[in-house]
């Protein structure tokens, strides 16, 4: 049908539409692309006012840190090969080697090995080999684009970003697992009842979703700080002070996330015809068995999509984590905020840029692999709701 449209469209409109599209793509990708470019340059280049200097980085090159034409082409070739392999071959390989019922374990192992092999080859073997080739290949081997990974090593090794990364990992995994567990149960229940009560719960969830996060934190903070004395009657002297504990943060994030999860999972569950549960019941399943054996397998796409959004919430959160965790013990996003607030020299700034890029790199891959799920997740709430 769109083909039909295209033919009928006048040329001016077509030109306008496609140029707007190009403009939008540039607009969308440019800031991200730009900080990625900045992060691998020395400060003088990174904050140069001439854009060409920022991209090519003459100062970085003159210090002997650069990529030659050969480097770029071989590096790109390896990346393309890895992508091709993981999209085409990996699936069949996994199916071949893993036993039928443990397919997902096979997928995890398969993708882990692929990723690991890529990292080892790309960062371990490639640099020395390429150095050797660069020396003998003349013009092709001279550096044309400045590239230095030193800011990344500063961020990750010297500034202790690994610690923050672990915290991020802990918080996001906690948020995703807990909110999915509650969300699937609640969403299933809500999708299978027709009572007015359920409707009111949904409306309440909608209102809670609109609450500013700081309102919630303001509610939790006093409780967490005094929890040692509040919980004493229950736990005795070993009652913990919840403030600064990752678990407390996870609890708050789950509470923030829950309304959204329930809404989304409910609309996914509603897509599953209730005939399915009835059939399972007739075949002799108990209710829980029907839920676990029959409904859950059909639900995986929905669960994955919701999990993605919970992941994003936990991963991107600044407010809750920065308020509830100690400054030495935060996740990545608050860590970078303190980093760029303290920065004084331009080197520090580029280090902060490198940290920013390291934070968004996983998100980039996430979009790449789960684009379809994200789009469906965005639309399902809208179209069905």
């Amino acid at each position: 049908m769109s083909n039909n449209n295209n033919i009928r469209m006048p040329l001016a409109l077509r030109l306008g539409s496609s140029s707007f599209l190009i403009f939008w793509c540039l607009l969308a990708a440019f800031p991200i692309f730009w900080i990625a470019v900045m992060s691998v340059k020395l400060p003088i280049d990174a904050f140069n006012s001439n854009p060409l200097y920022v991209i090519l980085g003459p100062t970085t090159v003159s210090q002997g840190k650069g990529l030659s034409f050969l480097d770029i082409s071989i590096g790109l070739a390896i990346i393309v090969f890895t992508i091709k392999f993981s999209t085409r071959r990996l699936g069949t390989a996994v199916k071949k080697f893993s036993p039928g019922n443990l397919l997902w374990v096979g997928w995890i192992i398969g993708s882990l090995t692929t990723g690991l092999a890529f990292i080892v080859i790309f960062f371990g073997f490639l640099p020395p080999i390429l150095e050797f080739f660069n020396e003998i290949s003349g013009v092709l081997g001279t550096d044309i684009i400045g590239f230095s990974a030193e800011h990344y090593s500063t961020v990750w090794l010297e500034r202790g970003f690994i610690k923050n990364f672990q915290n991020s990992l802990l918080v996001t995994t906690g948020v995703v697992t807990i909110s999915l567990t509650f969300g699937t149960l609640a969403g299933y229940a809500l999708s299978r009842t027709g009572s007015n009560f359920a409707f009111w719960i949904l409306i309440a969830a909608l209102i809670f979703r609109s609450l500013p996060h700081s309102v919630l934190v303001a509610g939790y903070l006093p409780f967490f700080m005094n929890s040692a004395s509040i919980l004493q009657p229950i736990f005795g002297d070993s009652a913990p002070t919840l403030y600064g504990m990752p678990w407390a943060t996870i609890a708050v994030l789950v509470a923030i996330n829950q309304p959204f999860t329930i809404w989304m999972l409910r609309s996914f569950f509603q897509n599953i015809p209730s005939d399915l549960d009835e059939a399972a019941r007739i075949d002799g399943c108990s209710h829980f068995q029907a839920f676990r054996r029959v409904i859950m397998p059909v639900m995986w796409p929905g669960v994955i999509t919701t999990g993605l959004f919970s992941f994003l919430l936990g991963y991107n959160d600044f407010l809750v984590t920065s308020l509830l965790l100690e400054a030495q013990n935060t996740t990545m996003v608050p860590a970078i905020a303190t980093m760029f607030n303290m920065e004084t020299t331009t080197t520090d700034q580029v280090v902060a840029v490198a940290a920013a890029v390291s934070i968004i790199a996983p998100l980039f891959f996430l979009v790449m692999f789960f684009q379809r799920q994200i789009v469906s997740g965005l639309t399902i709430g809208a179209v069905k709701g």
Binding site: M9, L13, S17, S18, L21, W24, A28, A29, P31, I32, I35, S49, N50, P51, V54, F182, L185, A186, A189, T193, I201, F208, R209, S210, L211, P212, H213, S214, V215, L216, A218, L221, P222, F223, M225, S229, Q232, A255, Q258, F288, F291, L312, N316, F318, L319, L323, V333, I336, A337, F340, A352, A356, V367, Q371, I374, V375, L378, T379, A382, V383
Partner: protein, 327 residues
């Protein structure tokens, strides 16, 4: 029946979750740990981190019921009156709460039409594009949305900071010296730009999905009836998208009303603050090592009242819709 039990348990968990959310909010209102100082204006807060034993040399703290004092401290009514009697807008705007309120409201209301418009145009153009390039375009469009808000704001900031490339480009274009971070309105402009950049993809994707379900027969008959392209858009496509426009409006109102990450990302505390940032600021440690939790909760409550007021018209239309559907 087992069905009841099976539904009841998750329902109870939902209910508990909902209590989980509300309870602290009310709790804070009751347990305001604020001791007003002699001036009556500044509220020095003691946090009850110690049990009320007081025997082992610890400071005993007091919890007083202070009524609306906290709210007064946030709104700073005397200063408002003073500002009004002087008829000075600037004086009015120097009060944190009103400053934040002004920015938050103008931010929310100004970005809303931009987001809707941008999203619609992007969706329409994606819909016009060839099938083969739609995937990559959607991928690129998703990036600004999915990115960590603080980082996204930072990325935009780095483009403009000091002699960043876009600033120097503007300087070259306008042939005058520009400092983007020196005055409030440029920062606000950049924040709005960032927000539109951040939310427009969401609107675009939602609209795009809906465009796939436009009734083609209606379109065809509109063409046969001699509708122009514009008329087609106006009378067939827009009505079809209307519920989604309401949906995006709702989400955007909720999200942009709690604008916060931009203030952090652009580190604009000195010039521009938002309501949620105000609460955040009350909650962080000040130089004395205190958190003014009571003031924070007062400002949080005010923020909440604000969002409810803002959402009432939209929620009402949703409610009508629901009623209509049921009948």
């Amino acid at each position: 029946m087992m069905m009841v039990l099976f539904i009841a348990i998750p329902l109870a968990s939902v209910l508990m979750q909902s209590f989980y959310v509300t309870q602290p909010v009310y709790e804070v209102l009751q347990v305001e740990t604020c001791t007003p100082s002699f001036s009556g204006q500044v509220c020095v807060t003691d946090i009850k981190t110690v049990p009320k034993i007081g025997v082992n040399g610890r400071v005993e703290t007091q919890t007083n019921f202070v009524g609306l004092l906290n709210y007064q401290n946030v709104i700073e009514f005397p200063r408002v009156v003073a500002a009004f009697t002087n008829k000075s807008w600037q004086q009015f705007m120097s009060i944190d709460f009103w400053k934040a309120l002004r920015f938050t409201l103008s931010f929310t209301l100004l970005t809303l039409p931009l987001v809707l418009l941008f999203g619609l145009v992007i969706a329409l153009t994606i819909n016009n594009a060839a099938k083969s390039i739609r995937g990559p375009i959607i991928f690129v469009s998703l990036l600004p949305m999915i990115i960590t808000p603080v980082i996204g704001a930072l990325a935009i900031k780095w483009l403009f900071i000091g002699d960043g490339i876009l600033t120097s480009f503007l300087e070259w274009l306008l042939e005058k010296d520009i400092a983007m971070f020196a005055q409030a309105w440029t920062i606000e402009l950049m924040m709005m730009f960032y927000r539109v950049w951040h939310v427009a993809p969401f609107a675009a994707i939602v609209f795009y999905a809906a465009l796939q379900t436009v009734n083609q027969d209606t379109l065809e008959s509109a063409v046969i009836d001699g509708a122009s392209r514009w008329q087609k858009l106006r009378y067939v496509i827009l009505p079809h998208l209307m519920p989604l426009i309401v949906f995006v409006t709702l989400i955007h109102l909720m999200d942009s009303y709690r604008v916060f990450e931009e203030v952090i990302g652009f580190s604009s505390q000195a010039h521009v603050i938002s309501l949620q940032w105000l609460t955040y600021d009350f909650l962080t440690l000040d130089q004395m090592g205190n958190r003014s939790i009571s003031r924070a909760s007062a400002s949080a409550m005010l923020t909440m009242i604000g969002i409810v007021l803002l959402l009432i018209p939209v929620l009402r239309s949703v409610w009508m819709d629901y009623k209509g559907k049921k009948i």
